[in-house]
């Protein structure tokens, strides 16, 4: 199996509205990525896109994004889950030796569609759509309630998670969507959506595009002095029906992490990994992910948070970028996490840089109440 590294990346701002067409947004992000990292388009042989027909409002929507993504005349395909799945498939294509270089392009424009209406189309028509109440926030709210009740936690802990992430986002110019300077109290009193979830403890659907270029070892060493190696990947699905799942924990994230740790040789994630970027579409999911990723004992995640361990300057920084609570172009979120990890490892994260970040974990998810989880381990230059 070939070793695979991220050798280039690019991101548009994650904004409420990017004043450009979808094609224009993709074009400028891809173009900027190739130019900034001195990568020739012709050296790349396979394109893996991530978006969603529902988000785009077009059938097989990648037919429209071939030209602006640079995939004209190339091998190109699309995944409909998360950008992290696109990264996984691109990684496989290079790891298998079939391609020397691959590019991953994820995008969506939250400003152009009704995210919760589109996501509710995921629901099973027989049982789940009958009352018209269930959607992605409602499903996550049930999960949040299950987690809080089991661990006897107060709802304010959700505001504390969001406060940490939104404070971090203030240092990240690409994630400046939310109002600045909010206090825990402001967040805890933001409008209720589906209790216990509120506006500020749920993701904002933004516009955005994210790009990563992968290369095998031979190419990677030629392109950059700072290749970021992908040393582990783990992926896991669980049951669709919420009623068949233990909603007090995210089993599939735990299994995905275990597989990624095994592959990357991670023994103690809290010690072996310097920075974590996770896709917490809702505040409680970050706590559940601390447990699933093995950063805390089951039920003890809130303690980790309250001790400040997962803050930007803490021992186990989680979401220095601000995470999905700060900015969330659906379908790009996992890839944004991986690119943020690459920026951290290369020391290019600017004001939200974590000191001496050598190994990082990126997490992506999709599905109702995080049905599907995926974990990647990224490692600095010397393998």
């Amino acid at each position: 199996m070939e070793k695979v590294a991220i050798v280039g990346y690019g991101m548009s701002p994650q904004a409420d509205i990017i004043k450009d067409s979808r094609e224009g947004m993709i074009f400028s992000t891809v173009k900027q990525t190739l130019e900034a990292h001195d990568i020739k388009r012709d050296d790349i042989s396979t394109w893996v896109m991530c978006s969603n027909d529902f988000y785009d409002g077009r059938t097989i929507s990648n037919v429209f994004t071939v030209d602006p993504s640079g995939a004209y005349g190339k091998d190109e395909t699309k995944v409909e889950q998360d950008g992290m799945h696109a990264l996984l498939y691109a990684w496989m294509r290079v790891a298998s030796g079939n391609h020397e270089m691959a590019i991953v392009v994820a995008h969506s424009k939250g400003s152009e569609f009704e995210p919760h209406v589109a996501l509710s189309a995921q629901l099973d028509p027989t049982y789940d759509r009958q009352f018209g109440f269930l959607n992605d926030i409602a499903a996550a709210a049930l999960q949040a309630r299950a987690y809080l009740a089991k661990n006897k936690l107060d709802e304010d802990v959700l505001a504390e998670v969001a406060f940490k992430n939104l404070s971090n986002a203030e240092k990240n110019p690409l994630a400046s969507v939310r109002k600045k300077g909010l206090s825990v109290k402001d967040i805890a009193q933001s409008p209720e959506l589906f209790s216990p979830l509120r506006e500020m403890t749920s993701y904002p659907a933004t516009d955005g595009c994210c790009v990563a270029v992968l290369a095998n070892e031979k190419k990677a060493r030629k392109i950059t002095k700072k290749p970021v190696w992908i040393t582990g990947f783990g992926h896991c699905q669980e049951a669709y029906y919420l009623g068949e799942r233990d909603l007090t924990r995210i089993r599939s994230a735990k299994d995905a992490a275990r597989r990624a740790y095994k592959m990357a040789g991670i023994k103690d994630p809290a010690k072996d990994i310097d920075v974590f970027e996770v896709s917490e579409h809702f505040a409680h999911q970050e706590l559940m992910l601390y447990e699933a990723l093995g950063l805390s004992e089951p039920g003890k995640a809130a303690k980790l948070l309250n001790k400040g361990k997962t803050e930007l300057k803490g021992a186990i920084p989680v979401n220095p970028s601000g995470g999905a609570l700060a900015a969330c172009a659906l379908g790009t979120v996992g890839l944004v996490r991986a690119v943020e990890c690459a920026m951290q490892i290369r020391g290019e994260a600017g004001k939200h840089q974590v000191k001496k970040a050598k190994t990082a974990l990126a997490h992506g998810q999709c599905g109702m109440a995080a049905q599907n989880n995926i974990v990647a381990i990224l490692k600095g230059f010397r393998l």
Partner: protein, 155 residues
């Protein structure tokens, strides 16, 4: 192997459903605006890729082949030819049309790309690939896509 053939369920039921998501797509309108301004004056405006030299009419803002932005506008001739065509006998939902309609891919002289447009004033059996056609303009051009009402054969 016959025992492995899937047996049909004795009872099944249909359930009506619909997807209803509303969209507000954002488009780049610079090139479209120039094209429409041209139509108002009965001119066909195209865009030319500075890298490969291809001319697109109607104009597009980027060349996918070169991954370059296009800035140069050029005027192409309103004379055109049929690149391909199809005669339409039914609507998309299957209702027969009283008269067959013809839709064609039309290439303006001097352009490399094609425009999809109706061809009127000719029977389907008489249309030929490569035949010259010309724009049938609206009685009053207003700077709208319908200024080109259709194409008609050059007689």
């Amino acid at each position: 192997m016959t025992e492995n053939i899937k047996k049909e369920k004795k009872i099944t039921r249909d359930m009506p459903g619909a997807w209803n998501v509303k969209y507000r797509w954002q488009f780049e309108s610079d090139m479209l605006k120039k094209y429409l301004q041209g139509l108002k004056e009965k001119k066909i405006i195209g865009s030319k890729c500075s890298s490969c030299g291809r001319v697109f009419a109607p104009p597009v803002p980027r060349c996918g082949k070169c991954l370059e932005e296009i800035e140069e506008l050029v005027e192409v001739k309103p004379q055109a030819k049929v690149i391909m065509y199809t005669a339409i006998f039914n609507t998309i939902t299957g209702q027969p049309l009283p008269e067959p309609k013809i839709t064609g891919m039309i290439q303006f002289n001097g352009a490399d790309s094609w425009l999809l447009a109706p061809i009127v004033g000719i029977k389907p059996e008489n249309v030929k690939v490569g035949m010259p056609v010309r724009v049938f303009w609206a009685p009053e051009t207003q700077g709208s896509l319908t200024d080109i009402q259709h194409f008609e054969p050059v007689t």
